[in-house]
Symmetry: C2
Subunit: 210 residues, 2 copies
């Protein structure tokens, strides 16, 4: 039977996910559950129930930043597209992606580095609280780590969910090694993606807006 | 060790994927391999080696359409964002997504149906050859099937890769049941997504442009 109401479809989907997690004996702390469930909803991949790592207090800090109208910085236009614009607007949050900016491309070419690195440096100069949602470029995570180490960046949350086979584990480890001082949600292992990064942002926003 | 050259990263990633597929004893026909590998590259999920179903001759028909500068229609802005603009431009292909069009929203509201359905109807009125890349909305696939059955649409390729838990299998079955007459590539089961739909389009385009 085809259900046509989008809200009913989503509610039923979340019920199914919740039921299957329970059947697998997977117990997720209440505060993190909406994030894990929305990532599974976006991928139909229950591996994320085990893969998603939350630093202590990350969800709380992220919600505070979202309530304060932080900027949300992505490393792909795709992740930016996947973040709910209405929810972000309601919170007064701007979604920023500098990857296609001509000045970023020019500087990356001149320095012989990735546009992701230059994008993150550009983002670090934004005023106000920042959430980073990285779903693609390991060099974006490495740049964030370098900026933090240099005392040039203090993000409210780093979502580390690039997908792939090369540089990925090293980049995620660089964020995981920050410990609880720098709030982070990391998709451990190879999996992730712009859809995963966007789903994490949406789940956090919906905790406030819905 | 961190590899910095994007081309080297992609080449190495594809080597790893190829190696792991071989180690799993999975043999994919040469013509379909770039599509399967690119979806695994986008998701780090080897399930797609088994999940991706190709109707007979689908790749060949799709390449012909791409060479003829077809329109590529998506059901999300996210899938549109994920399709390589430079490759599409090189082929003279336009990427279209009508989901955010005000006329689509108004008509969907009036008819009490999804914007995805109205978007696909709007797309069916585009001139020239059409490739549909559906990564989100099962109702988009059902609309495409209805349009085909009504003799109003004859797509060169339907990519059926919505992800989720409700209506998804029914919608994918509606495309699979078309048989080889209507070329299709379907991600069987629950998995899929805008990233998967975009990766399939990119893999097909790169067969010509690279």
């Amino acid at each position: 039977m085809i259900i046509n109401d989008p809200n009913a479809i989503e509610a039923r989907s979340m019920e199914i996910i919740e039921g299957e997690l329970a059947a697998m004996g997977i117990d997720i702390p209440e505060e993190r559950k909406p994030v894990v469930k929305r990532v599974i909803h976006a991928t139909a991949d229950f591996d994320y129930a085990a893969n998603l790592f939350f630093s202590e207090g990350a969800v709380e800090r992220a919600l505070e930043a979202l309530r304060n109208g932080c900027s949300i910085v992505t490393d792909t236009q795709m992740a930016k597209s996947g973040i709910n614009k209405a929810a972000a607007a309601k919170l007064g949050c701007e979604i920023q992606c500098f990857m296609s900016d001509p000045d970023v491309a020019a500087e990356a070419k001149e320095r012989g580095c990735t546009r992701a690195l230059v994008s993150m440096e550009k983002a670090s100069r934004l005023p106000g609280p920042l959430i980073f949602a990285v779903g693609n470029a390991p060099t974006a995570l490495l740049a964030i780590r370098d900026l933090i180490d240099a005392g040039k960046l203090r993000p409210e949350l780093v979502i580390g969910a690039p997908v792939g086979f090369v540089n990925i584990l090293e980049a995620k480890d660089a964020i995981l090694a920050l410990g609880d001082d720098v709030p982070h949600i990391v998709a451990k292992g190879r999996k992730g993606g712009s859809n995963v990064a966007a789903a994490i942002v949406n789940a956090l926003m919906y905790k406030i807006t819905r």
